[in-house]
Structures are given as structure tokens and as C-alpha cells.
Symmetry: C2
Subunit: 322 residues, 2 copies
């Protein structure tokens, strides 16, 4: 049986093999190639292959759709980076800072359509289900991104709204990735919905974990500077949970965010999070959403040994230690 690393290698090699028109349209396709070759964990297309193999032993049939999903994911990063004015991603200049904003917008649009093209390369009897799932998930991603942007200027955000935002922005695409694989594999509607739920909930647990790592992670393994969210005023699960406690903690936290960006602000906010027991709250939430994911997985008709690779995937993703 294939391992997660096997799938990842397959994806990496399929991406390297992608051909885009050259010549007079190179200014359109160069930024796309640049965006796709930045590396990354390829979580989403790996999930698609896993879904197809688990439900139908036909990962090969799902490769194009898997790549399409990775292209869609990168499209969202390219446009998000423009909207967030982020200059760096994965240690390299973002598309709009390497090229320009117009290239990021137009090549990003092109990526969305190329993604649709690749995702439609499935058998005729799967086409409608696959494209409907993809389009529905894409809409959820935009809605999640819109909530995230609206949160920037919102004074109060409930933890529930925050979860709704990450279900849209992160969870739905992980869910959609594995569901599209499952559909290609021939899963029943019930199984496809259950494995979607597994993906969504794994995504939510992952995002909360990621928020936590941004403050409490190990700088040696986290990959980004610790405290970035605090410095950038990001509304994270930590911040929102702390504010939701109200009272003195909340007031002190708001004041701490008045401290200019830098070490002092990071230290002060981190200490307040510790006092408020935010680490525990995050851990509890991660474990709660992981349980929901596993519950959905267990309810599928998959055999125990086929369930195992999904458990490994979730473990690998969420088990990341500080």
C-alpha cells in the first residue's frame, strides 16, 4: 500500500511535468509556474489521491483533479497575498512582489480556470458531481476569506464565528479535496459526505493548532518567526478566545495590543495568553475537532486498514509538536 510520502512524490512529479504555453504568453504563464513550484506540503492533492485509492484503488485517475485542486489552492494564495499585501511566502517573494499586482490578479484568474479544466478531466459519469463539489467548495473558500477580511475591522468576534471562518477558508478545501478523490474512486454519497466531514474537521483542528504554534511553537521547527500573528494584529483563535473571557484579561489584552510591534508586545501578549489558560483552551479545541474528524472517518464503510492512512494523515498534520 502507498504511503503519504508516495502520494506526495507523485504530486510533486506531476507538477514538475505540467506544461504551459511559452512564447508570447509567457508573461501570463510564468507567474503560474513560479507559484506552483514554491513547494509546500501538497496536503490537498495528497488527500485527493488518498480518497481515490481508498474508495476505488485508482489514484491515477484522480491525478489531474488532484493537481487542479493544488492549482486552485495556489490561486487563492496568489490573490490573498495581493489582498493582504504580503511580500514573502515560503521564503520567496510572493507573485505580486516578484512580478506585479496585475500579473498576480490575471495569472491568478487563469489559475482558477486551469484548475477547473484539470478537475473536469474525470470520467463522464463523475463529471457533474466532481465539478459541483469543486465549485461549491470554492464559494465556501471565498466566503471564509471575506469573513477573515471583515474580522479585521470587527470589534467583537465570537469563537463560533471564528470557527465558521476557518471552516470556510481552510476546512472546506481539505474536505473538498478528499471528497473529490472519493467520488472519483466511486464512493457512495454517504461515504463521500463523511470523508468530506473528516477533511473539514481535520482542517479546523490544523488551523487552531497553527494559530497556537504561531505564539507557542518552537522557532526551530515552525518555519515562520514566532509571534508574527501578534505583531500583525491578527485575530487568531487565541486572541478571540481570550477576549471572549471578558473582564480584566480582555482589557489587559487590548492594552497589550497598543504596544508597538516588536519583542515587547509579543512577550506581553504571550504572558497574558498564558495567564488566561489559552494554551489549554487551544489544546482542548484541537482535540475536540480531531475527534469529530475521526468520528466521521470511523463512520465510513472503509475497512480498518484503509482508515489507517487517513488517521496517519491527521496525526502528521495536527500532531506537529512545538
Amino acid at each position: 500500500m502507498k504511503t503519504i510520502s508516495d502520494y506526495r512524490l507523485e504530486i510533486e512529479s506531476a507538477i514538475q511535468g505540467l506544461e504551459f504555453p511559452d512564447g508570447k504568453y509567457s508573461s501570463l504563464y510564468e507567474p503560474i509556474r513560479y507559484s506552483l513550484t514554491a513547494g509546500g506540503k501538497r496536503l490537498r492533492p495528497v488527500l485527493t489521491l488518498m480518497g481515490a485509492d481508498a474508495f476505488g484503488s485508482n489514484a491515477e485517475e484522480a491525478t489531474d483533479a488532484a493537481i487542479g485542486i493544488e492549482i486552485f489552492h495556489n490561486f487563492t494564495l496568489v490573490h490573498d497575498d495581493v489582498m493582504d499585501k504580503s511580500d514573502m511566502r515560503r521564503g520567496r517573494p510572493t507573485v505580486h512582489s516578484k512580478y506585479d499586482e496585475n500579473a498576480a490578479i490575471l495569472s491568478g484568474d487563469t489559475m482558477l480556470t486551469v484548475a477547473s479544466q484539470m478537475i473536469s478531466r474525470v470520467a463522464d459519469d463523475k463529471l457533474r458531481k466532481v465539478t459541483d463539489t469543486f465549485n461549491d467548495v470554492a464559494i465556501k473558500v471565498y466566503e471564509g476569506q471575506r469573513l477573515d477580511m471583515d474580522f479585521e475591522n470587527a470589534s467583537e468576534i465570537s469563537p463560533e464565528s471564528y470557527i465558521e471562518m476557518i471552516v470556510g477558508k481552510t476546512g472546506s478545501l481539505l474536505g473538498g479535496s478528499v471528497k473529490i478523490g472519493a467520488i472519483i474512486g466511486g464512493a457512495s454519497e454517504k461515504d463521500a459526505d463523511l470523508i468530506y466531514e473528516f477533511g473539514v474537521m481535520t482542517g479546523v483542528a490544523f488551523q487552531i493548532q497553527d494559530d497556537w504554534l504561531d505564539t507557542f511553537g518552537d522557532p526551530a521547527t515552525f518555519g515562520k518567526p514566532i509571534g508574527g500573528d501578534i505583531n500583525n494584529n491578527k485575530k487568531t483563535y487565541l486572541y478571540i478566545s481570550a477576549l471572549a473571557q471578558g473582564g480584566q484579561h480582555a482589557e489587559a489584552l487590548k492594552s497589550a495590543f497598543e504596544i508597538p510591534s516588536g519583542e515587547m508586545r509579543i512577550k506581553t501578549v504571550t504572558r497574558l495568553y498564558e495567564k488566561a489558560g489559552i494554551g489549554e483552551i487551544c489544546k482542548k479545541a484541537v482535540s475536540q475537532y480531531s475527534s469529530k474528524a475521526l468520528k466521521a472517518l470511523n463512520a465510513t464503510s472503509l475497512s480498518e486498514d484503509k482508515k489507517e492512512i487517513f488517521r496517519q494523515f491527521a496525526e502528521k498534520l495536527i500532531g506537529r509538536k512545538k
Copy 2:
């Protein structure tokens, strides 16, 4: 038999009837509604209905796809306006100036996916052909837009490259609109390709005519201020044809574009175009591409009376007098 105005009314009423989620996602969907209700000639969805009715007497079945195409067209306008930094369109602020750039980017992305959703609302046996046609055309539109952007900084552009650009940016979507209608109507592959050619060539003739009207049109009926392209340094068919003549005309034209924007520049450039016989060159090109369009139309298996409405459409579009 239905008239072009009948189809346009149907489209207008279907757009008025579109429902988007309200409430917490209104900041995502409000800009979409705003963009879609700006009016316009609805050329593309009208062509879709015409195609479906001519080949299959089933315009109703094509209404969702037609609206999807109009949404796609408006998505390109929303993003183009960001890229061109245009503040006004059809007498109203553009989406990014009414809301902000991020809203224009994200709601534009959403429009592209909503367009895909609506275009996929066709019978199962038409789904692949319709979505493939749509995706292929979308790619051509992006390629055309990219060429257009690259032309801004190009010192020499051949009339052939310019035609290639407008085939992509304008022609292909008109062609795709009517082809998708024809597919839904049940046209043969040959007929679908011929009517696509009709749409593309009509679009090219229309664009050249539009370039010409921008300089030589009647301010009372043109709808935009005359000379806008000259003031904005736009590389139009007029400019490119004049430069292609080389020699003194070309040198004089380059110098004229050194004059600061305003009446003096418009007058000087217009006089040079007149001297170089650019009006005649444009007229010839418009008539040449119109003929190609009609030739393709005549080659379809449509009966004479069904061909007639397409002729009327082309006439109405290109027959616009100064």
C-alpha cells in the same frame, strides 16, 4: 419568432431575479449585484439564447448558461478595471472605487465560480462540451488581456498581433457565447464551430469599429468622450495601422503623442489619422471581418429565416453609425 429585444428583456429580467446570500456574506455578494445591475447591452447572453433557439428552439434551457456568461463577462470587467485603475464604467463608479480593491478582487473571483456554476446547469449529455467550451474561451480572454497589457510597453505591434489580441479579448467570448447556446440547442459540431467563427469575427469587426468611433464617432451617440483612447495613449487599431505605414506619417504620429493630453493632442492625432487614410483602412477591416462572420454563418445548416436574426445582430452591432 423572437427578436433581439425579446432576448434582451429575458436576460434583464433573469438578472433582476438572481438571488445571492444576504446577511453575514453581504460584503461578498453586494459588489456582485452592483456589477451585474449596471446595464449594458447584454450582447453575450443574448447570443447564447439566439444560438439555443436557432439550433433547438429551447432558449429557456439556455437561460442559466446565458446568465453565467454575462456574469463571467462582468467578472472580467471588474478585474480589468482594477488592473487599468479605471474609476468609472457606464457612468457609475467601478466596483473597486465604490467598495475597495480587495472587494473587487475577491467578489470578482466569486463571480468566476458563480459563472461556472450557472453554466453547468445544462443537461448531462451537454455538460462536458459546454464546460470545456467555457473554460477554453475563458483562457483565451485572459491571454488576450495579457497581450493587451504587454502592448502598453511594446514599441512595435503589428496589425496582426493586434487582431490576435482582440480575437482573444473580445472575439472569443462572443464566439463562445453563441457556441454554448448552439451546443445546448443540439447543433452539430460543425455548426457549433461555424457559429463560433461568426461570433469571433463579429467581435473583431465590432472592436475595430469601436476603436474608430472613439476618434471619429459622434459625441452625441457614442456614449464616451471622443478622443479618450488618444488621451490615454491606447494602442488602438488606428494607431497601430498608422505606425505600420512607417515613414513620415509614423514619425509625425509619435511626436503628436508627445503633446500633453487634451484637445490639442486629440486634434493633431485625428488630423494625422485623416492624412494617413486610417478611416478607410478601418472601414475596410470592419467590412472584411464582417464578411468573414457572414461567410461562416452562411455555411451553417441553419435555414435562411434562422440566419436572419444573426445578420440583424451583426448589423445592429457593427452598423452603428458615427
